[in-house]
Symmetry: C2
Amino acid sequence: MSRVIAVANQKGGVAKTTTVHSLGSALGSVGKRVLLVDLDPQACLTYSLGIDPERLDLSLHDVMLRRAGADQIALTVGDLTVLPSTIDLAGAEVHLLTKTGREYALRRAIEPLLSCYDVVLIDCPPSLGILTINGLTAAREVIVPLQCETLSHRGVGQLLETIDDVRSYTNPELRVRGVVATMFDSRTNLARRVIADVESSYGLTVLQPPVPKSVKVAEAPETGRCVLEHAPSSKGAEAYRALASTLEVA
Amino acid sequence: MSRVIAVANQKGGVAKTTTVHSLGSALGSVGKRVLLVDLDPQACLTYSLGIDPERLDLSLHDVMLRRAGADQIALTVGDLTVLPSTIDLAGAEVHLLTKTGREYALRRAIEPLLSCYDVVLIDCPPSLGILTINGLTAAREVIVPLQCETLSHRGVGQLLETIDDVRSYTNPELRVRGVVATMFDSRTNLARRVIADVESSYGLTVLQPPVPKSVKVAEAPETGRCVLEHAPSSKGAEAYRALASTLEVA
Ligand SMILES: Nc1ncnc2c1ncn2[C@@H]1O[C@H](COP(=O)(O)OP(=O)(O)OP(=O)(O)O)[C@@H](O)[C@H]1O
Ligand SMILES: Nc1ncnc2c1ncn2[C@@H]1O[C@H](COP(=O)(O)OP(=O)(O)OP(=O)(O)O)[C@@H](O)[C@H]1O
Ligand SMILES: [Mg+2]
Ligand SMILES: [Mg+2]
């Protein structure tokens, strides 16, 4: 049974996209069959895979609105397959708002593909709107990337409430797998305080290891790659490979 | 005539909130009358001013839906006045979508207050949806905080197109004042490359100086302050004070 993991956090810039791309790449490189879903109209995941969103005729937008099947938009990049997005997906939010069963659009779209993949990673946008709700409804597990700073920390409670709502209304089997400490600055006490606080306030597991802050990670998308291809022996790459094996994808 | 400045960038975590709070605080401390508007349902600006969004009965949500006047929700924090938000503002997005003149909700709400302030700074959420459109329609100028990394850089074109649309349809006097280089890591070439690229690709002014990456900035919200109160002689505080004077607010 394939693992379907939503990577969610409504706070902006906490490395959701980076985490989806890097974990996906790490799992792909040990032979897992990986599907990535770009659920963000800003299409950063699509772009960081070296795809130009502006040149796509069909994207996740068309699939969510049932104008195309997921297999029609799937693109292969190295070991990975991606359901890419474009800015049109912002329009899907408006369309879906008035439709019954709007929370299930993504789940319905990917269900036929699940048997072809060992793991599906869903990159959510920085909001708790209908797109993220779709990601949480389609998934069985949630990973929360956490930038260990005050303004990121404060959103965690709200995210967990949203996950509880999704569990009550649209997806009873949803579980929080844990938090990934991203862009971790080990030289400051702030990062350690935030991590300790999140563990104690919310009882969340902090998956190991933290991903260190490293310019190699930020540079990688310049050449349509993630840090594992751009700088495979860097600390960022090592951390994402270690995290990928913690996930124990069968 | 008061300066109304939208601080916008749909990319997450590029220091929009930090820039609004810090520029506001710098201007307030040299005697300008400053109004801050928290246009983000995640209410990070509200929170970083030491206000608990969960304890507010009325917020910008009620004002946007014409259930309350801006003066009824305004709160004073030191030299600053803020129109705070709460998670309810996410509901405003849905409500407004079907209303005529929905882009003008914020402009209409703040117009009566403008004569009381020298400068209004609007903190936009990480999206190009109806809330940011309201911010751009209410403003006369836009400042774009730019985290100098690849995934932030790629959104600038889309933001400028949105600004052009707003200029054509709802706000002909809107001008882009320039880019603020935020969380600038001067030790890496990536930051310099991204800045040079944004200047040449889009002809944007990069306001001086860049704001250096500094843990003092990230720690400040822990105690309901911005870096100017938390660490007034730090490099982050100096940079925001210098940027505030570049704005030449009368
Ligand atoms: N470990 C790291 N070290 C240094 N930079 C990093 C690291 N992880 C991510 N980044 C950079 O931080 C920025 C934000 O990351 P990313 O875009 O993945 O966050 P996000 O949560 O997906 O953002 P959004 O909310 O906009 O979708 C990017 O420029 C990325 O390259
Ligand atoms: N110069 C800086 N040095 C170090 N950290 C910074 C700096 N500026 C901002 N930060 C931190 O970076 C994080 C992101 O900043 P901020 O929340 O202001 O961005 P944002 O663009 O408003 O995010 P969102 O898109 O979620 O609204 C915060 O934890 C903030 O404290
Ligand atoms: Mg992202
Ligand atoms: Mg913000």
